[in-house]
C-alpha cells in the first residue's frame, strides 16, 4: 500500500504545530498502525530528520497510551480497538490519512502526537479509590456477597483504561464517560459505598476544574471507547452526584 500521511508536528508545548505531509510506500496491510509509524520513523531517522513522537507502551490494547486521532476518529475507523490494535487493512492503497493528537484544553500537547493526560490522574486522586484496612484484618473480597448484575456492571466499568478517547471524540471535550466509569465501578460494590458521597463530589469537582466540557449526551464517547464503556455509567454518575449534592 502507498499512503500519504498528514501528521501533526509540534516541537513542544510552547510552540505552534502544523500538519506535515509524508509519503510512505510498501506498507503491509497486516501491519498495526503503530508499526506503520515505526517504519516511517525509521525512514526519517535514516534521512537525518526528527522522528514523529507518539505514545505507546503495551501494544496489546491494555495501556491506553496510543492517543491518536486518525482520519477524524479516536483510534481510527475500527471499533473497540486502541491504535495499536488498528491494522492497515482498514485503509486503502492511495489513501490520505490525517494523524492528529487527542485535542482538548485539558490534554495539552507535549510534542507531536503526545498529549499530557495527567488531568485524568488528578481526577483519580480526587476520589477514584476505596480505603481498605490492610493491617491484618482485611476482609476477603470473596466473602462479601455482591449481586451478580452489579458485579458484572462494576467489572464492565472497571475495564476503562483511561485512554482519553471519550474526551477526544466528544464535541465538548467532556470527560464524563471516564469519570462515570470510575465512579460506577465503586458505587456498584459494597466496598465503594462508604466513600460514595465524597468520591463523586470530589471527582466531578476536579473534572470541572481541569477544564473539560459539559456532556450533551451525543454518545460519541461510547461509540469510540475501545473498551465499550456504556453511557449508563454517566447516568449512574449523574444520579450519584445529585444524591450526594442533596445530602450535603
Amino acid at each position: 500500500m502507498n499512503l500519504t500521511l498528514k501528521i501533526w508536528r509540534q516541537k513542544n508545548a510552547d510552540t505552534k504545530g502544523k500538519l506535515v505531509d509524508y509519503s510512505l510506500s510498501d506498507v503491509s496491510p497486516d501491519m498495526s498502525f503503530l508499526e506503520m509509524l515505526d517504519v516511517l520513523n525509521e525512514q526519517l531517522i535514516n534521512k537525518g530528520e526528527e522522528p514523529v513522537a507518539f505514545d505507546h507502551d503495551c501494544r496489546e490494547g491494555i495501556c491506553g497510551m496510543c492517543s491518536l486521532y486518525i482520519n477524524g476518529e479516536a483510534h481510527g475507523p475500527d471499533r473497540g480497538v486502541t491504535t495499536c490494535q488498528l491494522h492497515m487493512r482498514m485503509f486503502k492503497d492511495g489513501d490520505t490519512i490525517y494523524i492528529e493528537p487527542f485535542r482538548a484544553k485539558a490534554f495539552p500537547v507535549i510534542k507531536d502526537l503526545i498529549v499530557d493526560r495527567s488531568s485524568f490522574d488528578r481526577i483519580q486522586h480526587a476520589g477514584g479509590f476505596i480505603s481498605v484496612n490492610t493491617s491484618g484484618n482485611t476482609i476477603d473480597a470473596n466473602a462479601i456477597p455482591v449481586n451478580k448484575e452489579d458485579a458484572d456492571d462494576a467489572f464492565a466499568a472497571a475495564t476503562c483504561i483511561g485512554c482519553g478517547a471519550c474526551v477526544a471524540s466528544c464535541k465538548n471535550s467532556s470527560a464524563m464517560l471516564f469519570v462515570g466509569a470510575k465512579v460506577s465501578q465503586f458505587a456498584l460494590l459494597p466496598q465503594g459505598k462508604v466513600e460514595a458521597t465524597d468520591r463523586v463530589l470530589n471527582m466531578v469537582k476536579q473534572m470541572d476544574e481541569e477544564g473539560f466540557g459539559n456532556c450533551t449526551n451525543t454518545g460519541a464517547c461510547e461509540v469510540e471507547c475501545p473498551k465499550g464503556i456504556s453511557l449508563e455509567n454517566i447516568a449512574r454518575m449523574n444520579q450519584e452526584y445529585l444524591k450526594a449534592a442533596l445530602k450535603g
Binding site: 492528529e100 464535541k171 454518545g219
Partner: protein, 228 residues
C-alpha cells in the same frame, strides 16, 4: 447542595428539568390546538379558559416564560463553555461516524426554534396581551360590544394561517423542533440519571413524541390553510 448549579452535572440537571417542563407544555399546547380541527366551539371554550384563568395567566405563564428564557440562555452558555474546552479544532473530524446530526447540532436547531418563537410571540402572544391587558378586553368575544358575537380565538387562528409564507415558516419551525426533540427527549432523561435496563422503552417513546407532536402541529397549520 451549595454550588450544584456551578457544576457540570448540576447544569445538565437544570437543563433537563426545564426541558421536561417545556415538553409537557408543548404536549398540552398540541392537545388544545388539536381541538381547533376537531371541534372549533370546544377550542374557543378552552382557549378562553386558558386565556383568562388567573392561575394560568399570573402563575403558570410567567413560569413558562422564565423556563423558556432559562433553557435558551443556559443552552447558549453551555455551548460557549464547551467550545472553550477545545481550543484547537481537528483538521479532520468525522462526527457522523459516532453521533447523530441532531445531537451535534442542538445549538442550531435550538437557535431556529428561538427565531420561530419570536415570530410566534409577535403573531399570537403580543396581540393577546395587548387585547386583554392594554385594551382591557377580557371578554374573548369577536365584538366585545355584542354579547352573542361568539369567541374570537378560532377566527383569529384561521386568519393567521391564511398566508402561505406563515404556514411555511411554522412547518419549518416544527421540523427544527422535531430535530431538537429527537436528541433532546432522551438526553434529558440521561441527564437526570434515567438510563438503565428499566428505561429502554423511553428511547422508543422519545422518538414517537419527537415526531408525532411536531407533525401534528404541522398538520393543524396545513389543515387551516387549505380548508378555509
Amino acid at each position: 447542595m451549595s454550588g450544584i448549579l456551578n457544576s457540570s452535572i448540576g447544569r445538565k440537571f437544570a437543563m433537563a428539568l426545564s426541558a421536561f417542563f417545556l415538553m409537557i407544555f408543548i404536549l398540552q399546547h398540541f392537545a388544545i390546538n388539536s381541538l381547533s380541527v376537531i371541534n372549533p366551539d370546544t377550542f374557543n371554550e378552552v382557549s378562553h379558559f386558558m386565556g383568562t384563568f388567573w392561575v394560568i395567566q399570573y402563575l403558570l405563564q410567567p413560569v413558562l416564560i422564565l423556563g423558556v428564557i432559562f433553557h435558551f440562555v443556559m443552552g447558549f452558555v453551555l455551548e460557549i463553555k464547551n467550545n472553550k474546552a477545545r481550543q484547537i479544532s481537528y483538521a479532520k473530524n468525522n462526527g457522523a461516524a459516532n453521533s447523530t446530526w441532531m445531537s451535534r447540532n442542538m445549538i442550531w436547531s435550538g437557535g431556529f426554534i428561538l427565531v420561530f418563537l419570536v415570530i410566534h410571540f409577535i403573531d399570537f402572544w403580543i396581540p393577546e396581551i395587548n387585547t386583554k391587558y392594554i385594551a382591557g378586553d377580557m371578554s374573548g368575544l369577536i365584538d366585545p360590544n355584542v354579547a352573542d358575537s361568539g369567541y374570537r380565538y378560532y377566527e383569529e387562528l384561521v386568519h393567521k394561517f391564511e398566508p402561505i409564507w406563515r404556514v411555511a415558516l411554522y412547518c419549518l419551525g416544527f421540523i427544527f423542533l422535531a430535530l431538537h426533540l429527537l436528541h433532546g427527549f432522551n438526553s434529558a432523561f440521561q441527564s437526570v440519571g434515567a438510563n438503565n435496563k428499566y428505561t429502554k422503552g423511553l428511547k422508543g417513546f422519545g422518538k414517537f413524541y419527537a415526531i408525532v407532536i411536531p407533525v401534528g402541529f404541522i398538520f393543524i397549520a396545513l389543515f387551516h390553510h387549505f380548508s378555509h
